[in-house]
Symmetry: C2
Subunit: 225 residues, 2 copies
């Protein structure tokens, strides 16, 4: 029964569609499963054996810390996303951790070495996986160029739009997002100070473009944003 559960979790991830039943079962045997609560840190680069994680429920943030203790949010991980040592190599120098944002999350994980074995034995999975990593990279590049050429307001707006389209509930032009981020989080994502983020959010609210509170964000008309 418990194994069945894990099986199911992997099965419905798009990356594993190319695998047949027995291959999935094989990966399931080696996979671990756990849940965690809000605020917990569930992953630390440069600790333990390198692993790949699959988030099944909830949301987490990947935070990286530089030498001076500066924290930036690298990524928001959602249900169905992979995270961890995705580049298949544990990098000593990069320091990052994953923190739970929602009330509860469930994740399953497997050792990097086991995953590598599977990739070698399944070339087409390796190919899909490479494309997957490539896609991640592309998304990064995109953020990167936003940071360079756009101002904080534009970055905030495009983040909100993105968020809404990704996991908001749509009713015509109206989107409702269940908000698990603080304004500090949002500021760190769009790379600005908390004060600027607050200012801009209130500004958008004054113009009736969005309605913001701690529980949810409503976008009246996404085309006007």
């Amino acid at each position: 029964m418990y194994d069945e559960l894990k099986y199911w979790y992997l099965r419905d991830h798009k990356l594993f569609l190319t695998l047949n039943m027995s291959q999935i079962k094989q990966l399931c045997i080696i996979s671990g499963f756990k849940t965690a609560k809000k605020g917990e840190v569930i992953y630390f680069s440069s600790s333990d054996l390198p692993r790949i994680y699959l988030l099944k429920k909830g949301n987490i943030k990947i935070v990286s810390v530089d030498e001076e203790g500066n924290e930036t949010i690298k990524e928001i991980i959602q249900k169905g996303d992979l995270f961890g040592e995705l580049s298949l190599e544990n990098d000593g120098d990069v320091n990052e951790y994953a923190k739970v944002l929602t009330d509860e999350v469930s994740i399953c994980s497997f050792l990097l070495s086991d995953f590598e074995d599977l990739l070698v034995r399944n070339p087409s999975l390796a190919l899909s996986y490479t494309k997957f990593v490539g896609l991640k990279m592309k998304r990064f590049k995109n953020n990167y160029s936003n940071l360079v050429s756009k101002d904080a307001r534009t970055r905030l707006i495009s983040f909100i739009k993105d968020w809404a389209e990704r996991e908001g509930i749509q009713e015509g032009k109206k989107y409702t997002i269940s908000n698990y981020l603080t304004q500090t989080d949002i500021a760190q994502i769009i790379c600005t100070s908390r004060q600027t983020a607050t200012l801009l959010l209130n500004e958008l609210e004054e113009k009736n473009l969005i309605y913001y509170n701690r529980k949810e964000i409503t976008i009246e008309d996404i085309s006007k944003l």
Copy 2:
């Protein structure tokens, strides 16, 4: 003879070490080879069939252009590096091109589809390639965080250090780089305005940390930089 040349070019790239002779020959048959001169544009995303390129001689820059025509240098490609549709998927929306920086470059290329075939038939190559893409991503993330938390001066210094270590000629603590970049290029790489880059470079020179001219850059003592 000509085929032999191409064979050699692929053979000495670290990524292709796992392939045996016949596999390399196979890739060689499908690979194209050409040279180009300074200023030429040799690659354009969203044109032609998607390809992967291997730079054999010289240097090129990958420039991306956003909607407003803003140009940023994404990457400097050096001898031995791969570029092109590395993520194995041609992205319609991203607009980038490659321009030759040195007097002459020679490159070889192969179709993405052919490369994919090869990957599927060579699982260990697929794995190496995935790690390779992962590494690229990591380097990106690093630049990205520099952009966020460091000021222009720090970014310039870390770029120069990087450059020196990557391709400078070392004599003790002294490094000499053959300079194929204009100050405008450098500015675009570290994401600042040309004026600021000029200012900072002159400042470093006044402090005798570097000696700069159009042909070469000398770092007196890299540990003091």
